[in-house]
């Protein structure tokens, strides 16, 4: 058996002491207490994070390029044909542009140039798929505040700003279980709530049984959402889960972005309501 002296200098005693101290820290979770330390570490690590992220993206692109060499010849031929077809379609573009303006007016969607955007690069990401966040290289000193919406270039809603530090910020993605957004079916105007499910998809729920939703419908942000402009694409309905004895119906949405592919995002700092 252990003598008193041996026990306190043993590995087991160290393990128990560490477990007690850090177990209590986890239990009481003084998260904000560590925020100043986080800020300092993030500022110090910022250039390295950006470099590592850029290097890995560059390596991935080179890898993708090497693996795609075989396909390039075929694609080249195909693209020559496509150029011919595009030339003819270009003529129809002017008409489509007019139609687009008309549809935006009908759906009360905001023209994209009404957003005041802050472009930022993704410098870190959730590595186990349960947190569903990304970290961007802009923060308080760039005028960013908690709750601001984040989009990718095509008006696709990615998430909202969570914690904002002086030079960096955490974006809580729509796939995060903490994320809850008011949304609307762009086709039928059915209202509901979009909730993340651990990166396994997103759920468009709390939709009244009387409202019509169908597979393939686009789900966009609604005007009820705080700080989020209406009309940003959240997802496309992939599956409807409905039963007669439930008050609400829900749908599984296909996410229009892949977190691991996000390299640049835009934070909407201001928009015209």
């Amino acid at each position: 058996m252990f003598s008193k002296k041996n026990f306190f200098s043993s590995r087991l005693a160290k393990l128990i002491a560490i477990m007690a101290v850090f177990g209590l820290l986890i239990f009481f979770n003084p998260y904000e207490f560590f925020n100043p330390a986080r800020d300092v570490v993030f500022q110090a690590a910022y250039p390295f994070k950006k470099t590592v992220s850029n290097v890995f993206f560059a390596v991935r692109e080179i890898g993708d390029f090497i693996f795609s060499i075989g396909k390039l010849k075929k694609e080249n031929e195909k693209q020559i044909e496509e150029i011919q077809s595009l030339k003819s379609r270009l003529a129809a573009m002017a008409d489509m542009e007019r139609e687009n303006a008309f549809l935006r007016e009908q759906l009360k969607l905001l023209p994209r140039n009404k957003f005041k955007l802050e472009s930022s690069s993704v410098i870190a990401r959730d590595q186990n798929g349960l947190g569903n966040w990304i970290e961007i290289d802009k923060g308080e000193r760039n005028g960013l505040r908690k709750g601001m919406p984040v989009i990718v270039s095509e008006g696709i809603f990615v998430g909202k700003l969570g914690e904002v530090y002086s030079g960096t910020a955490k974006v809580v993605l729509t796939t995060n279980p903490e994320s809850l957004i008011n949304a609307v079916d762009a086709k039928s105007s059915a209202h509901g709530l979009v909730k993340g499910e651990y990166g396994l998809g997103i759920i468009f729920g709390m939709v009244l049984q009387t409202d019509a939703i169908s597979i393939g419908d686009d789900i966009v942000t609604s005007e009820i959402s705080q700080n989020i402009p209406r009309g940003l694409l959240v997802g496309k309905i992939e599956e409807i889960q409905s039963s007669g004895n439930q008050l609400f119906q829900q749908a599984v949405l296909r996410i229009p972005f892949k977190a691991s592919d996000l390299q640049h995002v835009f934070v909407i700092r201001e928009y015209n309501k």
């Binding site: 590995r11 850090f22 990401r125 590595q127 691991s260």
Partner: protein
């Protein structure tokens, strides 16, 4: 001092690669844990008594970098290092094959423990939600285990190289013990 600085910079670099780099290469939810692999490999190579301080430092940095509750990765790394140290004394010296299998098993169980504990922390211990999500959360487990093991064994090799670099005299003694020429 030089050794501590070297190890700090090494772990800092590994954590940067983990949080800013690996997520770009691997699909979501199957990103292996390089830091865990190095903590385990370090505990097997150097023993728990030399690794626990580094497990705490790496855990705190990891908690900060991943926006987790401070303490979560500390506990995971220290516990894993403890069992790795225990296993290395029991198995690694007795049989190489058994040792490699035990180390691989430990890597897989630590990585699984990370995922399960993280889920419980997010859901404030809601077991029903865990059982609801379990099939989907572990649907990619096969790839994820392979990726983790694929990172773990090179990490073990790399740690031995670090040991040779940091403690060449001990390494020579160890090598002589193994070859029976001591």
């Amino acid at each position: 001092m030089k050794k501590n600085l070297f190890l700090f910079l090494f772990f800092f670099l590994i954590i940067l690669v983990q949080t800013s780099g690996l997520g770009i290469f691997f699909p979501e939810r199957v990103v292996p844990n390089l830091v865990l692999a190095f903590v385990l490999a370090g505990a097997i190579t150097f023993g728990f008594s030399e690794t626990w301080k580094w497990a705490i430092a790496a855990g705190i940095l990891m908690d900060i970098f991943t926006y987790s509750r401070v303490g979560f990765y500390v506990l995971l790394f220290v516990l894993s290092a403890y069992f790795a140290g225990f296993l290395s004394r029991r198995f690694l010296l007795e049989s190489r094959v058994l040792g490699v299998l035990a180390a691989g098993f430990l890597m897989i169980s630590s990585a699984l423990a990370e995922r399960i504990f993280l889920f419980f922390l997010n859901e404030a211990g809601n077991t029903q939600r865990f059982f609801d999500f379990m099939p989907e959360i572990f649907s990619d487990a096969g790839y994820w285990i392979i990726f983790n093991l694929a990172l773990f064994f090179p990490s073990l090799y790399f740690c031995k190289k670090i040991r040779k670099f940091l403690k060449p005299s001990e390494y020579k003694i160890d090598a002589r013990v193994k070859s029976g020429n001591f």
